[in-house]
């Protein structure tokens, strides 16, 4: 009886492991199922490179170039803002801060990570957006810049915690060797530690980018959602994710527009898939070192 019970449990355990693969396949299959039929009517190149996203005009136009560029703009801004600061903070937390302060800072970073994106979007709407409007004298503060800043903050916990792990994982002998040769702690950090931790830090940044590209609510609430090709950061933009979130609710089920939104989903899926695989590759290099 007991042996039979164990047999069942061990099979269940195995099945659960396999199910994870099944879910990924399911996601991909269902995105394809709803998205691929779109390309019967529209060419892939016209979809990716089309300059106009007018899904409900007559005739509709489904060019997602402005959306891609919108995502790219916001992501680029967020990365430029978040990466240097996060790496700096990761070093401070991992190497410089005294133990008590370190726990305190880590808790703070965890809290930042746990604030729901819709709350950050809301706070951004009532603080950041008017500030940008006033400082830059632009007609609206709902801009790529607002999105970049907000998303930068949302990417920071990811980048900081993974970089911090990578920095802590650098063998102590490296650091002590450098100190023994007369280098200061700071020289050791930027000459030795950062190089040894590089794969992990790169992975951290990539996962941060993945987080930014996939982020939806905050971006939808503060970037203005204008589907035009952006020229500056002080312009409203619309991202891939925000397009899905904003239009999926009103779309006619089965229409070309509906399928187009799923095609955007496929593209997002593929982008984040590649980012995560690459990041994982770098993380693996840290572990096997």
């Amino acid at each position: 009886m007991r042996r039979f019970k164990e047999f069942i449990i061990e099979k269940l355990v195995f099945l659960s492991g396999i199910l994870v693969i099944l879910f990924v396949c399911l996601i991909f299959v269902f995105l394809l199922k709803e998205g691929l039929s779109f390309f019967k009517d529209v060419k892939l190149s016209a979809f990716l490179l089309g300059k106009y996203w007018y899904p409900i005009s007559e005739p509709p136009r489904f060019g997602i170039l402005p959306l891609i560029l919108g995502s790219l703009f916001v992501t680029l801004g967020a990365v430029l803002f978040a990466v240097p600061l996060s790496i700096g903070a990761a070093f401070y937390v991992a190497e410089i801060a005294p133990a008590r302060i370190r726990d305190f800072l880590k808790t703070g970073i965890e809290i930042l990570a746990s604030i729901p994106s819709v709350v950050l979007g809301f706070v951004g709407m009532i603080t950041l957006v008017p500030w940008i409007k006033a400082i830059f004298h632009v007609p609206t503060g709902l801009t790529a810049l607002a999105g970049s800043i907000m998303l930068g903050f949302m990417a920071m916990p990811t980048i900081i915690s993974i970089s911090e792990d990578a920095i802590t994982a650098v063998p102590r002998q490296y650091k002590e060797g450098s100190i023994a040769l007369g280098a200061t702690r700071w020289q050791t950090m930027y000459r030795v530690t950062i190089h040894a931790a590089k794969p992990g830090i790169i992975a951290a940044c990539m996962l941060g980018v993945g987080r930014v590209i996939g982020e939806t609510m905050a971006v939808m609430m503060i970037t203005g959602n204008a589907a035009v090709i952006p020229r500056t950061f002080l312009q409203p933009v619309r991202t891939l994710t925000a397009t899905i979130a904003a239009e999926m609710g009103e779309v006619v089920h089965g229409s070309a527009h509906y399928h187009a939104l799923f095609s955007i989903g496929i593209i997002l899926f593929l982008i984040t898939f590649m980012i995560n695989i690459t990041a994982d590759f770098f993380l693996h290099r840290v572990r096997t070192k």
Binding site: V24, K33, I96, S114, P116, S117, V119, M248, G265, L268
Partner: protein, 287 residues
């Protein structure tokens, strides 16, 4: 000359460390500011009626009771579905899986699942649960979508906790004549439990705050009553906040802040519990 050089090196270090300190402060200061803004402006809206009454006058008055209940339903539903599956999958990976192609494939799948944008989970949930399985926009569809989204988080944290249990526990269990599963169940799992609990609570907190996956799978703009069954639509706190922040003009701002405050308190409370469990057991189990 040399002495001079030495001073400048030491000074450089001081400046650099100071700069890094201010960078860290700069990142964390907004956390405090955000929490403070929401607390200061939201606390006045919170009273018994706000927490327990239905919305009135196009959500410009009354309370947010159905949104709170909806979020609780979703969170419980998602946890019930993802927790057993996630823990079993983690046990497979940590205790049974060999270093082979299948294991690498599963790991790849987990990495991939954890990176899928939340709005894409929403699309997926819509096409699988709402349309294909004909659940309609409902608590079931939303819970299942959130559950799949949560799965990689639970698996990863559970696996870490299992791996943190030293190998000798397993050897001791086996050497005392326990079967493989008995060893996992009695010599490994109990000691990984605090870590598993922490990870689970954090994942629940995350699910509670998610909006994009529930946009098209469950969330209702406005329902004047509580859901009757799991196949009903429901309101949810994060979606409600999104709606009253962007779609409905002339709502007293305190209502928006109040809703945000309730949401964030829920999330922070769960985080706090997780942190307490972790620090308590970190002291208890030292090996």
């Amino acid at each position: 000359m040399r002495w001079n050089n030495l001073i400048s090196v030491a000074a450089k270090e001081k400046i650099a460390f100071g700069a890094l300190f201010f960078i860290t402060l700069f990142i964390l200061a907004p956390v405090v500011v955000v929490l403070w803004i929401i607390f200061k402006n939201g606390i006045s809206a919170i009273n018994w009626e706000f927490l327990t009454a239905m919305p009135k006058e196009g959500m410009r008055a009354g309370g947010i009771f159905p949104a709170i209940v909806g979020t609780l339903y979703l969170v419980v539903g998602a946890t019930v579905c993802s927790l057993p599956l996630g823990i079993l999958a983690a046990i497979y990976l940590s205790e049974y899986a060999k270093e082979n192609a299948l294991t690498r494939l599963i790991n790849l799948a987990i990495v991939n699942l954890s990176g899928v944008p939340s709005v894409v989970y929403g699309l997926f949930g819509f096409s699988l649960f709402v349309v294909f399985l004909k659940f309609g926009a409902s608590i079931v569809a939303g819970s299942l979508t959130l559950a799949i989204m949560n799965l990689p988080v639970i698996i990863t944290s559970t696996r870490e906790s299992l791996k943190a249990v030293p190998d000798y526990f397993r050897e001791v269990g086996l050497s005392l004549g326990a079967s493989r599963w008995q060893t996992v169940r009695h010599a490994v799992l109990p000691f990984a439990l605090p870590g598993i609990l922490t990870g689970t609570i954090l994942s629940i907190a995350r699910a509670a705050g998610e909006t994009a996956p529930i946009l098209f799978t469950v969330a209702a703009f406005y329902i004047p009553h509580l859901p009757h069954s799991v196949f009903d639509q429901a309101m949810a706190l994060p979606y409600h906040l999104y709606i009253i922040a962007t779609q409905i003009p002339n709502i007293p701002n305190s209502y928006r802040y109040g809703t945000a405050l309730v949401l964030i308190l829920m999330v922070l409370l769960m985080n706090l519990v997780a942190i307490i469990i972790r620090s308590k057991f970190r002291r208890k189990y030292k090996w």
